[in-house]
Amino acid sequence: MKDNEYLAMFKMKLIEGFQYRAAALAGIATQFFFGFMFLMIYYAFYQGSAEAQPMTFAELASYNWLRQAFLAAFVMWSQDNELLESITSGHVAYEFCRPYRLYELWYSRLMAQRLAAVLMRCLPIIAIASLLPAPWRLNPPDSALSLFLFIISISLGVLIATGVSMFVYIFTFLTMSPSGVRLVIVTMTEFLSGSILPAPLMPPMLQKVLYALPFVYTADMPFRVYSGHIAPREAFMNIGVQILWVVILFAVGKWCFYKIARRVVIQGG
């Protein structure tokens, strides 16, 4: 195991990630700002409506804080700029002179980056959000089993997000500019992953579309497993779907990557 380059890259990215303490602190502050803002908007809606909502406000509050705590795990605007820059500048040439599988290596690299960012941010946010007064706070998990299933499903969520992320890099090889593809993927996933509105609050038609796509399984679903909105039995099935998406995204991404990398022309010099 010691000489596994994929693990080594993972470690490297973690080391690098932990260096950015200031970014993490700033991130935490921002997350609280957005967390409160979203909650207050939801609160206004909940107060203004007499009907029973598909999610209780307590569930919504937990959902909201978990989303802020684990934001770095699934948001698409957080990408490895160094890597993107290496593609457009041609530094990526070095990567092709190394005896590793590039897709697999980048996959572990991106995964580690997400993990490092999450690990640095989630604990303080969870701790503080748990101490907030009643309707606003992050509630404890529904049960020990829910917590366990949440940990599994959020981990799989990171893998799905990583698989989706890889397409940003694949398209950057084609277009030589990361900004366009990034914008498209970010806007698409923000909405489809339930980052703006949790899936249960969306119209039933739209929910069908959402569940046919991988994005909702990166964050929305794990958060609802935590609060018990998705019962453990149902959660098992959802985790099965997650695994399926991890495999599909990995396989399709890998195929596209090598197809495109073969035609790549290294810029400049």
């Binding site: 000489d3 500048s89 530094h91 040439a93 010099g269």
Partner: protein
């Protein structure tokens, strides 16, 4: 060790006229221009050789290196390096080569150099004891000890390049491709990098292929040059040959006792004349330097004489001009 024969590579480059109209037009229809980056390139490199691969910007040097290091697949031709075709079995092949692209970096910007090295160790699966020995050796040769614990971004260009060269040697490759390893370095760093390459070549027998625009690199490291221009090999031979063929112009400066009348020996051109000092240009292929000196000493009381050859840069510039590249 390395054999290239008949390697050709074309690139398609999108072109358009300047201006907004043309920019809008190119949204619908793109014009492509074909650029012949490499045209029937053939040469061979023996084991343990250092060869200088030179040519003006855009000549195809980097493209050739990319073909040889397995990054690019040529349109036609064959390339065999250590029994491998670089762009096939890429992974098995690249474990045997080291590459330095002078204008790019292979080390991690924000983490200490040592961490980057450790990552390379895992990538190349270098056994720990061998890694330790190699690293000690490289640290000593390149004086890396004070640099290893520093993040790359805090190193100077010269320090960084030393770390880069060391990084490419950690896995003890049999071939080293150096693409402009001394670009942007100051004189001291250049000397150190050159000395290192030379020493490495002698001690480990590593084959080195080096591209550069600094002719002093070539002079310090190798006698064999391959000159490439517009994608074609123009000259493949020793630096001495090039000198013998193209470096025949000499400038002869004499200091003499004042009072001599102006004088120009046969076969030379007078460049300047002041009382006590004269400079002549001559072509050593046309007239013998000794004859000129003899004729001068008959005429004046010589106190000192200096014969200067053209700097290598100028010779190469003359070569480029001759081949119109």
């Amino acid at each position: 060790m390395i054999t290239l024969s008949g390697i050709s590579k074309q690139f398609k480059v999108a072109t358009r006229e300047k201006g907004v109209g043309a920019a809008i037009g190119s949204l619908f229809h793109r014009e492509y221009k074909t650029v012949q980056a490499l045209d029937n390139v053939s040469f061979a490199v023996g084991k343990g050789e250092i060869i200088g691969y030179i040519g003006p910007n855009g000549a195809g040097k980097s493209t050739t290196i990319k073909v040889m290091s397995g990054i690019l697949t040529p349109d036609s031709g064959t390339c065999e390096v250590m029994g491998f075709t670089p762009w096939k079995n890429r992974r098995a092949y690249v474990a045997n080569i080291g590459v330095v692209f002078g204008q790019r970096t292979q080390l991690w910007w924000d983490v200490p150099v040592m961490d980057s090295y450790d990552l390379l160790r895992s990538i190349y699966k270098i056994p720990p004891d061998r890694y330790k020995k190699t690293l000690e050796r490289l640290t000593e040769m390149l004086e890396l000890a004070p640099l290893l614990g520093t993040p790359l971004r805090q190193l100077s260009l010269g320090q960084r390049m030393r770390c880069e060269v060391a990084a490419s040697m950690l896995h003890a490759p049999s071939i080293l491709f150096l693409d402009e390893p001394t670009i942007g370095l100051d004189a001291v760093s250049k000397l150190r990098v050159r000395a290192f390459i030379k020493q490495l070549n002698i001690e480990t027998g590593v084959t080195v292929l080096l591209t550069t625009h600094d002719m002093n690199d070539i002079e310090a490291l190798t006698d064999r040059i391959v000159l490439i221009g517009k994608g074609r090999v123009l000259h493949d031979g020793s630096m001495r040959d090039v000198r013998a063929r193209y470096d025949t112009a000499r400038v002869l400066t004499v200091l003499f006792k004042t009072g001599a009348a102006p004088f120009t020996p046969e076969g030379t051109t007078l460049l300047s004349w002041a009382d006590g000092r004269a400079a002549y240009e001559l072509d050593s292929a046309d007239c013998r330097v000794s004859d000129v000196i003899a004729s001068l000493s008959n005429h004046m009381d010589i106190r000192d004489i200096e014969i200067a050859a053209r700097p290598v840069e100028e010779i190469i510039a003359a070569l480029y001009e001759r081949y119109r590249v």
